[in-house]
Symmetry: C2
Subunit: 436 residues, 2 copies
Amino acid sequence: MMNVYNNPTARELEQVLQRPTHNISDMEDTVRQVFKAVKGDGDKAVRAYTKKFDKVDTNYLQVTEAEIDAAEAKLNPELKQAIRHAAANIEKFHRTQLLNEPKVEIAEGISCWREARGIESVGLYIPGGSAPLFSTVLMLGIPARLAGCKNVILCTPPKATKAKGEGEIPAAILYAAKITGITQIYKAGGVQAIAAMTFGTETIPKAYKLFGPGNQFVTIAKQMALQHGTAIDMPAGPSEVMVVADRSANAAYVAADLLSQAEHGADSQVILITYSEDFAEQVQDALDSQLMALNRKETAHAALQNSTILILDDIETAIGIINRYAPEHLILAVANEEQYIPYILNTGSVFIGNLTPESCGDYASGTNHTLPTNGHAKAYSGVSVDSFVKKITFQKIDRTGLQNIGQTVITMAKAEGLDAHANAVHIRLNDLKNTI
Amino acid sequence: MMNVYNNPTARELEQVLQRPTHNISDMEDTVRQVFKAVKGDGDKAVRAYTKKFDKVDTNYLQVTEAEIDAAEAKLNPELKQAIRHAAANIEKFHRTQLLNEPKVEIAEGISCWREARGIESVGLYIPGGSAPLFSTVLMLGIPARLAGCKNVILCTPPKATKAKGEGEIPAAILYAAKITGITQIYKAGGVQAIAAMTFGTETIPKAYKLFGPGNQFVTIAKQMALQHGTAIDMPAGPSEVMVVADRSANAAYVAADLLSQAEHGADSQVILITYSEDFAEQVQDALDSQLMALNRKETAHAALQNSTILILDDIETAIGIINRYAPEHLILAVANEEQYIPYILNTGSVFIGNLTPESCGDYASGTNHTLPTNGHAKAYSGVSVDSFVKKITFQKIDRTGLQNIGQTVITMAKAEGLDAHANAVHIRLNDLKNTI
């Protein structure tokens, strides 16, 4: 089902590791139009596009407390329990990211330090689609709360209900938001939601930074938000997994992991690296037999047909390919992960051994599932508490301290032609001399 | 000289706190052209634009070791000593940012952790202009080295020399690069340098992330690099200072600090907040008397004429304005900084008391001087070691661990309609059952 390359040539490798490119210029025009309308007409434009794109005619945009309570009441208790379990693990892991840097005495009388501040207003986007992505609510909402963000805004498209009028937000999303402490939830999806959080409307507050996944329109909208001065979590692209499997791996497990990536979409990127032709065949057989049982078999099948098995001779070659491709997810189904970990530079998240399927990290082990795709792991990290804070440096210098570095500052400022910079130190040092 | 508003109205405040906007569409066309040429023709295009814009006809782009040694030999010893002093302080401060997060046992058998990796290839841009900005070499190069970046690339425009042929890079820049451990230095400036680091040329390596200041063309070029998938440090804008001065402040020192911001350029943003009309007048008088002695008095004067003194009634109002404006630099020339610090959310770097001029942080106290301008301090931090690393999450789950979270993952995956995600856990749990 997958394409197999045994010791691929440089040219084959280049082709295999290439990311898909999309022609987006038509979509950009649409996005620009929606941005203009939302900037000008606020809520009215958001409601009009919600009617047009989501087929829901909302009277009000903010989800009410009554709606949240009703969602909680009707949600399956087992699912509620699972969401709480996952939330507790995610919180436990992300708490370790709240490290305080020590204050430094650079020299006597020169004290420097950094303090973190939660970004005051952050916007979380949760896409609609066939199933509610409530897990992403936890993955964004929990670090936002730990970071101390004051306003956490959540936008997600409403679904049409049988009853006339208001659309509704899936119960699991509202429940995940509730236990995460998010109270500002808005019935708005797609480009209009991103535009609303970029500019602010009468109802939806302006966010300083936007987070979350979405389709290609949302991806382009986030790029446009960036151009309007709103920060974003990271550039987006189709989801990816690279699996490295040696003789210690289990072909059925590897096939299950490849399929769990492939079911995301026909454009999912799935690459298996192994060291044996036999193992590759076992995986192909396992894919065949597991695929038929899946709901999304057409999607998974389409993705696998564009996917690749690379049969390599050694670990060094594999590591070279990992770092060059920079996969969002990397599964190391290998006997000795220490032969890999120190050399792995570019990836979002690593899953080690036969009993660590990616889906554990997608939901409940505690790590974040919002990760850099499309090779961006070369320069970006996944979402963490870091993504929701910014750090301010502070410094306080006294007489002794200024006497220590004053001349250095004056010398450097003058060499850079910045006279007034030198003078700001000079005028103070002079006074200090005169007051002994 | 500065415009004074005593208890400004909401409308006045809005006007005062507005950032300048620029029409950039013409410049974008030029930048796009240069990008296209450098992508297609590599070094040849870089050399052609260097001849056109910098009036230097280089035969080779990479600075040689001999050039670096010659620079070191001819540089003023006092300046070398000052650069080393500053470098040591900057290194001392940035070292505290290398914190290791603990490995977390989320539950028995579930181990999760993060490890930092230096971004493999980073590009530092140092602008040319009237004076060499060697201090920025330290501010970018030192955290890059501490982060463990493998390839640190530095581009800066060459200056024409009297001798025919090769242009040269200012000695202080080469010396700062040398003591920072940067060996890949290229004679390329402006848009062509940014394009070269975005795409890579025969000589100049491709960078995954770009850093550093520059004029408006460079700013636009960095935005374009971002669109081509190269990360950047932060969006740029004119430099800014906000000074808050109470009765404990020294009017002459405040004036000196305002001038050291104003000399950066006519578009520098300078705002003084104070609580007394008398003090405002004293500062204006001090500005008058200090200005005349400056080399860049025309520039500073132009900046000050667009600048503002706000006379306010109370600290709360001041803090509201600080957080709304989000100044790059904030000087707290106040008696009790603790009345401010806990409430300050949005700024890049804070300078406390009468003996902590901004110029100390610009050069030598140890903190970084590459800071978010233009209100971006609402969502961005200044450059730090963090800017040069990305963090990879790892997880390893054993039999007990999978049995702990397996059902939670299955329940959530099914509720999100992701069948294969559930199956990847299910197939393993089943095997575990069967092997007792």
